[in-house]
Symmetry: C2
Subunit: 344 residues, 2 copies
DNA sequence: GTTAGCACTCAAACGGTATGAGTGCTAACA
DNA sequence: TGTTAGCACTCATACCGTTTGAGTGCTAAC
């Protein structure tokens, strides 16, 4: 759809002011707000047209207009122009020294929420390759063997395996060598049943132990399939009346705690990370994964890439009338900082 | 304070009905509800007395009475009697097979929230002894050494250490033996500076590596100091009008996401785990740790003990007019199951 | 000590009346 | 033909007085 310039400007003006005030905007307001120097009557005519096109609606007969989902869509796709606001502070604020990726991400989420006044989410990176780098079995006590598995990107998983009796250190050494030489450099999802059988055979009496280790490896993927998600600022939704209403808030809060819906959003973002400059904007019903209760929200996400195939999602959840410019800027800032910080 | 029997019964009746309805209860209601066969006028006189004692109040002149914090306190301390409700379902429901403690706890939290219709919290157990059971360094690649530390109770921590150049396998073996013999069985908080210096000395050129390992061990305690907390059913608060009100809800949700306040509650519970049968009830202002926004809530907690010095907290957050009987039952049920399950 | 009766209070619900923001339409104007 | 002023109309919201009903305190009688 291509709008004539004037309608474009008017739509832009309507949405801009609506973003600020959250209240239906009338023709008179626009008449004064724009530099078009048109009377309110003329604006009314144009508005009438825009309404016919499905870009704006009146909540009731004698009210001003508010954007529809399609209206927002057009705004985001065509009328958005970096306003270069002061997300400056973030640039300096972010990332006091933090060793653990987990804490770094939590901090980033908090920062994002505080600076935008929306709710933020951030997922632990998944590893695309899933190559196994190192495996080690250790005897911890008589009945327990600890399996440590290091995956490309230095992610560590461990699994405590219960055994009937202790292995002697020689057998342990052998098993370790066997596992390492068989699995080193292999992508976890490529481990075939045949390979497992072969290893088991070589392991002889310890075949049961081996299958436990394989289970742990499989689990390492499984937890990557539903990556950990950290959130912050869920309470920010109460700042926006259209979300603060009980049934709405209840559902959103539920989603944020349950994390199932958020997981879907993350999956979606990682899957179709096309979008303008890698930014995804979901408006209202566009929010993926039949997210009950998210109909009144917009979700903006992007993917960060820590190298080594480690990719995660950061995102913002807020009312449809969110400050898209600011949010996009903030996301980009955090994304870049995250990437720089980790690569250094 | 000791109340005469009749006043006791009346107070109990008032609170009971208020817990159910959430609305101020009048004299006529009580007159019919109790088996005392007293007229509403008599009840009114008694009520007037109870009000003078600070156990109940009227929200406004011509309204019924609602309990004060002190009223609730008395109810909980003296008038509560196990009603043995149907928390039956929980007994069968709980705990489908789960290997990971983390998942087990998450599941328990969810169950608790679903069955009570309040918000639940559950903390990862802290380890009181903190005895080190096993340490192992492994060369993962040229520049990384993985330190795995197993603590009594089979909790595993790992820390990736960056090094300038690879150690030969003999040196690694030596270091491992050195660390194990020096630290095995030692409580982490008992590691003295002197001991560290001694180990460093013996480690010779690898002293730097050793200090990294010690840091990781220290970190293992640190994260235990602020244990992970899982929550569920925070959205349940919207079921209770007195909590669903915006400013209130916003703060509670904030607390649940931030987890700082919850952490204080957990600390508190672990500290003074006295209480009737180990159950702690905090009513309104009694909630520990200057919990902003929790004034309208009651918090019921207890401590679970997985053996081996591993203790954690489970709790329920709800409106003051919560069904204390049911909540106490539910907490006990989950606590016992948790303990049984883990010990088996 | 208990109860019936009565006057009184007050939140909440109800209904009618402004108020005002905003519209659509028409007719005049450039 | 596009723009504008003017006017009648709509409708959510606020305001105000009235009614309703639940509940109280007090008093007098049992």
């Amino acid at each position: 759809m291509d709008l004539p310039g004037r309608k474009k400007k008017i739509l832009q003006a309507i949405i801009r002011t609506y973003l600020e005030t959250g209240e239906p905007v009338g023709s008179r307001t626009i008449s004064k707000y724009t530099d078009l120097h048109l009377s309110s009557a003329t604006i009314r005519n144009e508005m009438s047209d825009l309404e016919e096109m499905g870009l704006i609606v009146q909540p009731h007969t004698s009210a001003g207009r508010i954007p529809t989902d399609r209206g927002y869509r057009m705004y985001v796709d065509e009328l958005l122009e970096g306003k270069n606001q002061e997300v400056e502070e973030m640039k300096s604020l972010l990332l006091e020294h933090e060793d653990h990726l987990e804490n770094l991400l939590k901090q980033a989420a908090k920062l994002l929420a505080n600076n935008t006044n929306y709710a933020s989410l951030i997922s632990m990176p998944t590893i695309s390759g899933n190559k196994i780098k190192f495996i080690q079995l250790s005897q911890v006590d008589r009945n327990h063997i600890l399996a440590v598995i290091v995956i490309e990107g230095n992610l560590v998983r461990n699994s405590m395996i219960e055994v009937d009796e202790a292995l002697d250190s020689e057998a342990l050494l052998k098993l370790n060598m066997l596992l390492n030489s068989a699995l080193d450099g292999l992508a976890v999802e490529n481990i075939s049943l045949g390979l497992i059988a072969a290893i088991k055979k070589q392991a002889g009496i310890h075949s049961e132990l081996v299958s436990h280790v394989m289970d742990a490896a499989a689990e390492a993927i499984r937890t990557d399939g539903r990556p950990e998600i950290y959130t912050s600022g869920a309470d920010n939704i109460f700042k926006y009346p259209e979300l603060a209403e009980q049934s709405m808030a209840s559902q959103i809060i539920g989603d944020f705690e349950e994390k199932k819906v958020l997981g879907n959003i993350v999956q979606n973002t990682l899957a179709d990370s096309g979008g303008k400059e890698g930014i995804q904007v979901y408006i209202g019903d566009e929010v993926p994964a039949s997210a009950r209760g998210m109909e009144e929200c917009s979700v903006v996400t992007t993917t960060y890439d820590l190298g080594g195939g480690m990719k995660g999602t950061i995102g913002i959840v807020g009312p449809k009338r969110m400050d898209y410019d600011k949010v996009v800027d903030a996301l980009k800032t955090v994304m870049h900082q995250l990437e720089d910080y980790y690569k250094k």
